[in-house]
């Protein structure tokens, strides 16, 4: 068991357990934030796993998750806007923590990867992940207002 795998196990075990707890308890707003957090935790976890198994091909999973995870959260933000506008959830603390985690993991992986296409892929993934999460977090805390028919 190498260090990367340990890091992945800790990230995924800890992060996803917290997410699971958050998504099943409390008011709806908190649950949606927790759902957003699932992407933010699982994506770095998948990157760490790819490094742990020495399989650059696994980065594709993280890439797809970084693209689609925030889309999923935006779906919830859009379609639940009525329920969420009354009580906008506070999401800054977990969102930025997760963003920091994502950044740290991506930078660490870039450091150990030989520069090339792999690095570009990692950076794109990281940018999509962090950008997506921050925007999704923002959308949840009142970014989509006044959606009526659409």
């Amino acid at each position: 068991m190498n260090g990367w795998l340990l890091a992945a196990a800790v990230t995924l075990g800890g992060g996803l357990t917290a997410t699971l707890w958050g998504v099943t308890t409390g008011p709806l707003g908190r649950r949606v934030v927790a759902q957003n957090l699932a992407t933010a935790v699982a994506c770095p976890g998948l990157l760490l796993l790819s490094q742990a198994y020495e399989r650059p091909a696994y980065v594709d999973l993280a890439l797809v998750l970084a693209v689609l995870g925030p889309v999923g959260t935006l779906v919830f933000a859009r379609l639940l806007s009525d329920e969420l506008t009354g009580h906008p959830p506070r999401a800054w603390w977990p969102t930025w923590t997760a963003a920091a985690l994502g950044t740290a993991v991506v930078l660490a992986l870039c450091a150990v990867t030989a520069p090339g296409r792999a690095t570009v892929k990692l950076l794109v993934t990281g940018a999509l992940l962090v950008g997506g999460n921050v925007v999704a977090g923002r959308a949840l805390t009142g970014g989509i207002r006044g959606v009526r028919g659409g």
């Binding site: 699971l20 796993l49 696994y58 689609l68 995870g69 779906v75």
Partner: protein, 86 residues
């Protein structure tokens, strides 16, 4: 069973599946199901099945929640209209 990360992923799957059943409200269940999708994708990755993980992510993270929520929305909108007409 050398791999603790497999155990972690399995337990997460068991937990989130149980919670997905236990949460009664369809909207909240959709949230748990989307987390279940991500957890399953992680499990598939540690079971060395990235292809399956990828398709689970593609389906579970956006498409299925979107379908569920659109259904809830349609059902609720009907309910609200009915309520107003009464």
């Amino acid at each position: 069973m050398a791999d603790p990360v497999v155990v972690v992923a399995l337990l997460l799957v068991a937990g989130s599946a149980t919670l997905a059943v236990a949460v009664r409200d369809p909207v909240r269940q959709a949230l748990v199901l989307s987390v279940l999708g991500v957890v399953l994708a992680v499990l598939f990755t540690v079971l060395q099945a990235p292809d399956v993980g990828l398709s689970q992510l593609a389906v579970g993270s956006a498409v299925t929640p979107l379908l569920l929520l659109l259904t809830v929305r349609k059902v609720r909108r009907r309910g609200q209209r009915k309520g107003r007409e009464r």
